[in-house]
Subunit: 159 residues, 2 copies
DNA sequence: TTACGGTAGATGCAAACGCATGAACTTCGA
DNA sequence: TCGAAGTTCATGCGTTTGCATCTACCGTAA
């Protein structure tokens, strides 16, 4: 008998989780996190990717942290001179976050070494085809996750 | 020009990370984590899956936590009567961890509801084919992650 | 047997986190 | 135009985490 779609979905999610945990552990064990921690790097990378001032709550979308935790993490990075926080002229409540020169440099330095480790871990195991599939699947999964729509009317087979 | 394998590997890993964060946020927002937190559920689920006594450090493989954090998390679960810790008769250093009846019941209760959310999030977005691909890719990635072998001799294109 | 290196968990402590809430500002309807 | 509701970020506080270290035990070899 074939697995139900629900079962298949849960199995594939568990597989993603397991892979995530295994790779994160491997990367965490690499000796490149002296300057910035993995979580800090996550923030620096997101800021580097956007290349323009970004709001705190936008940053929060990509980072798996609560809003207060992110607020204080950014505060620490600012105190260390890696991130710049300026009030948003167009919205008195908000901040505009950006990397300082030192922050950008740190991101590049750590990112370069991290990318080597990622390449080793992933490219040694997957074919080009699989990597492309993973990229596509991840994009689809991340794309449609407004945090809890109740728009579904279809009855679904549960496990 | 085609992306280098290293670039492809990094892009696909970023995609996995983004999907992971988006889905975790969505699941965390679901109103099912009153009884046990997500991390606690992770431990209960792992114990339920194994179905036999398991060692703490084995548990640690699957869970993204430091050894001391896991040790204390298990301690708390034991105090709440969800997990049973008994000394391992075959190894005086070790523990044998298992679910209590209450723990198993809690895992089933929360797990059932969580599975519904997972199915909604994943199966609504991916085809059966994609879910199977994701499962296979995740398995491959998780499989080969002994935390930092230096067995590679090939020169690799770095970014 | 006994010493020695290695492994499994536990513990002290400072750092970081999440939840609840607060302060400042924006937005929108009356 | 004015007040209520919503949004953005910060802060207080108790809980949890990670790092370093410690204790207890195992395995091996002299």
């Amino acid at each position: 008998m074939t697995r139900s779609r629900s079962r298949l979905a849960n199995d594939s999610w568990e597989s993603l989780l397991t892979a995530h945990a295994a790779l994160m552990k491997r990367f965490a064990a690499e000796p490149i996190w002296g300057e910035v921690s993995m979580r800090e790097y996550d923030v620096l990378y997101t800021l580097a990717k956007h290349e323009g001032p970004i709001r705190l709550f936008e940053l929060g979308r990509g980072v798996l942290l609560s809003q207060p935790a992110l607020s204080r993490l950014v505060e620490r990075l600012a105190e260390r001179g890696l991130v710049e926080r300026t009030p948003d002229p167009e919205d008195g409540r908000g901040l505009r976050l950006g990397l300082t020169a030192a922050g950008r440099e740190a991101q590049r330095r750590v990112g370069g070494r991290h990318a080597v480790d990622v390449a080793r871990a992933v490219a040694d195991v997957l074919t080009d085809e699989e990597m492309r599939q993973l990229e596509s699947i991840g994009r689809k999964l991340a794309g449609a996750q407004a945090p809890a729509q109740t728009r579904t009317t279809s009855k679904e087979a549960v496990l």
